[in-house]
Subunit: 345 residues, 2 copies
Amino acid sequence: MSDPATRNRSRATADMVARTANVSRVAVSRAFNPHASIKPEKRDLILKVAQELNYTPDMAARSMVTGRSHLVGIIVPDVSGPWESQELDAMTTALQAEGFATLLFRTRDDLSLDETLLTYMKGFNPDSVIAYAENVRPTTLARVLDRAVPIYIGYPDEDVGEEEAAPLFDRLDVLQREGIEQAVALMQGYGARRFAFLAGKSNSLATQSREHMVRKVIAERGLPPPIRIQGDYMYDTAYRETLNQFRLGEPVDAIFAANDVGAFGAIDALRTELGLRVPQDVKVVGFDDIHQSHWKSYNLTTVKLDLAERTQALMRLILRRLKNPTSPSLTETVSTRLVVRGTVG
Amino acid sequence: MSDPATRNRSRATADMVARTANVSRVAVSRAFNPHASIKPEKRDLILKVAQELNYTPDMAARSMVTGRSHLVGIIVPDVSGPWESQELDAMTTALQAEGFATLLFRTRDDLSLDETLLTYMKGFNPDSVIAYAENVRPTTLARVLDRAVPIYIGYPDEDVGEEEAAPLFDRLDVLQREGIEQAVALMQGYGARRFAFLAGKSNSLATQSREHMVRKVIAERGLPPPIRIQGDYMYDTAYRETLNQFRLGEPVDAIFAANDVGAFGAIDALRTELGLRVPQDVKVVGFDDIHQSHWKSYNLTTVKLDLAERTQALMRLILRRLKNPTSPSLTETVSTRLVVRGTVG
DNA sequence: AACAGTTTTGCACACGATTTCAATCTAGGG
DNA sequence: CCCTAGATTGAAATCGTGTGCAAAACTGTT
């Protein structure tokens, strides 16, 4: 049985479909391409036969000639984080709706791994790449990946890290000022005077920008500068460092956390270990508005990054860039706003 | 400039590296294949030139000739769920360490979407597929994917759904009896007599198996059969349905939840809305042991599915199957155990 | 220096699709 | 019935890589 049509290979090919339907292989290709010109009845026949043979075009082969892999690489430092997984969920859903599959990579905190990982990823020829990892710098991304145009997530309220933002990149600008102003105003309105900022990983651009803006807004309102509590976005660290701050350092009126999970850690430290009440004794505000923030045990007042808005903006950037690879750089803007729940007033 | 070597294409190819290094293209291929025979000095030269040219072998082209895509498809119903994202994180890390990239897909609850999604995924030729989605049945998987051998996750304590487990599949057997026995014993020891089982999505095999086993163990200990509270693994539903049970139905001593997130919803309903104390008035046990379960506000006693153990078992199945595609079906077994925290005694 | 045995090399083909281009078919008006 | 514009068709080239096979180069032994 050397006849390729009868050889029982593991996967049906266009050739087999063509043989079975008595058409040319080219016709099979056309039947699966909506824009190709082929007689409708012929297409229907081919599609029917294809289904019977359980045939699907091979993306690898297709990708070689079209130059489109229909893959979008996503790089995340910790998939299991609530915010990260919720964003990954939204992006995967949106990408899937546009016919892309998500190629997922996880970074270690180890910076040196970056190049290896990016080089490896590049082998898959992703049509686009989204790096949520704070340790993957867009300049590195641009250097290693030659086809994709990275999306730079910027915080134009402040000029943190702007040196990296060459005009070459597409940008997603996040306006954090509004949400932060509302949060500080609310806490001050309920009597808070002595603030702490519970930071995230210190190499995180998002954290740096948030801290910058929080300090600025607090200063503008004539309040003393906030005390800095070093965290890393994780619950356990936030819990421990909050404890340290109140036991060894100076207690505060209000805690502004760089993310919601950190806020949970702070709240639990205050309530469980220090016997303080939230919000009566200490007010707490978080950042992100993850699903868990409305859980009744926390019921956290937090600055919301609108996930749907953010996802749509990213999709617009990706799709426009794919449609016109040589167009000048694009920018989308999303904003933040305070979601008021029970941890302030 | 029609010379392909000088044409400034977006991506370096093996040809360009060969031209630049004055070697044959085959040599380049061998330089990147650890098992190929090539003079060491030559390999070093090629790798150096390749790095300068920022060259990486094209996985699509490689996949066509080797038949290995180095992709593993993962199908998840909701990436943002804590358990799902934690398992996805662990699997992605493990796969990456073995040289595989994760190809992520998300299902809707809509069952009809399955075939379309699977057919689409098949186009990428994944070397293996892991479907965590309860609505993707292994028989469907086996029919649509022709190369991969699905892994069937079974619960041999009970015979729920066994009709689907053809001997054709590789299996991961989860022994739930031990953890459940410990949990029921602990709650009974602290005086619980009237149980409720807070179920997950009813089409979930895991839930059916857990409920079966919980009922059996409770019966064996001479306790009245548990009341059923219908949930769907989500916080909000658990919260609402627990409220309904206590307000409109019959109160209970103890709640055994089908997953941790559901347990959180139940706890918050009891404490916040019903004014009951956990564990003094009602004991609560969950299932999974996600990161959030040790957060102090919940401090949940729960039946642990060991993620590391589970991930390693899955990796063994995948790797052995890939090494020997025709070997008879394999089985790995993992067990469960109770993690005692503060919601029982 | 000749020989056998091993390592290294490169040609040519295969993998499974898309796309160009010239040839063929179809429809409709004169 | 003929002619032309437009719609379909299929042969051949192409994408970037791995591999079988025969030839060449190298190794060390007598």
